[in-house]
Every structure is written in structure tokens, then in C-alpha cells.
Amino acid sequence: MSTSDEETEEQQAWRVLSEAGLVEIRLDEFAEKIEAVKRIVIVRLRELLDFNTGIKERESAAYSLGTLKGLELKVLANAPKPPDPSEM
């Protein structure tokens, strides 16, 4: 039986991404996954701001957050509309 100590870096990355549903994102889950990744970036950005460290990483995280927000808006705007109940 393998333990987490025996995992290679790639196996660990695969497991982390699989658990997060990010290896192959289901077509109806893009908005949800973008939101999940945004939350991770926000947590890290808060840490960097709290400790007032990592200026370069802070800038990079802020930029990534902006990118994710932009993508989220576009993906939501292009989302297929649910069927209108009045037409059913």
C-alpha cells in the first residue's frame, strides 16, 4: 500500500488536481472551478498582504486574480441559458 510519503511530486500533483476536479474540467463546471481557484489565490494574497512580504508574488497573484475574474465574467456571460419554465 502506498502512503503519501512515497508519492512522487507528480503523483502528488495529480492527486491534488484530481481531488479538486481540475485534471479535466467538466464542461458545465468551468465557472465553479474558476471560483474555486480564485478562492485559493485570494487566501494566498491575504497572507502576503498580512505579512507584507513577497512583493513580486503579490503582484503576480493580484494579476492572476484579475485574469480569473475576467475569465469568470466571460464564461458566465457565454453560459447556456437554462430553459425558461414558462415555456415548459
Binding site: 500533483a13 495529480w14 491534488v16 474540467i25 464542461l27 485559493i40 494566498r44 494579476y63 475569465l71 457565454n78
Partner: protein, 131 residues
């Protein structure tokens, strides 16, 4: 008789070369087609087919296990920024990531995977140092 497609590949000569026939899993089952290009994304290799579809390496038959993935710190700032610009440009052009195996779907998948791993790993390191 000569064929334009070379023989199907095995683990011994991985990754396959341009022009080789490769088999992969698609939503409609197993398919075999001609490989146009192999390209590294931010995390894993993508296989670009002659018809423009982009298939992640783990779906290609014969892919060695475990796969080789890039380490997060191997990705340069420039590379990440170029990827972000391409994604915003594709989104701005009205492309939809909900088209499986298309370039926007493939690149957004990799960007989200990369960004998640990058900041998740940073979060784990902070937790470890606080213990």
C-alpha cells in the same frame, strides 16, 4: 505501399513524433488520428491533432506512467503572463471553453490546474512552517 501515417507509438519512443498515428480516448470512444504537434502547457504536454483538437497527454494510448509533469517553479513569469493574455484574448473573442478538446478548453484547463497547484502548494508550505 507507403502510408503517410507512421506506426503507432509505444512507451519506448515516447513522445510520438509529428506525423505519427496516435490513439486516444475521446468522448465518443477510442479514436486514431495523426499527430500534428506536441506542446508543453503550464503543467502537462498537450497533443495537437491535424484537425486542431488538443488532447492532454494522459488520454493518449501508450502514455508512460507516471507521466512527466512540469514543476510549478519551472514556469517563467513571461510564460504565465503570455498564457493569461491568450486566455483573455480567446474569452474576449467570444470563444467558449465548454467545447471539449478545443484550444480554449485545453489552455484554460491547464491554467486553472497550474494556478491551483501554485497557490495550494504555497498555502501548504505556510501551514508546514507554522507547525
Amino acid at each position: 505501399m507507403k502510408s503517410t501515417a507512421k506506426l503507432l507509438v509505444s512507451e519506448a519512443n515516447w513522445p510520438p513524433e509529428e506525423g505519427q498515428a496516435i490513439s486516444f480516448r475521446s468522448s465518443s470512444g477510442s479514436e486514431t488520428t495523426i499527430l500534428k504537434e506536441v506542446r508543453w502547457g503550464l503543467v502537462w504536454r498537450d497533443f495537437i491533432l491535424e484537425d486542431g483538437r488538443v488532447i492532454p497527454e494522459h488520454r493518449i494510448s501508450g502514455c508512460p506512467q507516471p507521466q512527466v509533469w512540469r514543476k510549478i517553479n519551472e514556469v517563467t513569469d513571461n510564460e504565465r503572463e503570455e498564457c493569461e493574455e491568450r486566455l483573455l484574448s480567446m474569452a474576449g473573442a467570444g470563444m467558449d471553453p465548454r467545447q471539449r478538446d478545443q484550444p480554449f478548453w485545453a489552455e484554460l484547463n491547464q491554467y486553472l490546474a497550474y494556478t491551483y497547484l501554485r497557490y495550494k502548494q504555497a498555502e501548504c508550505k505556510v501551514e508546514d512552517t507554522e507547525r
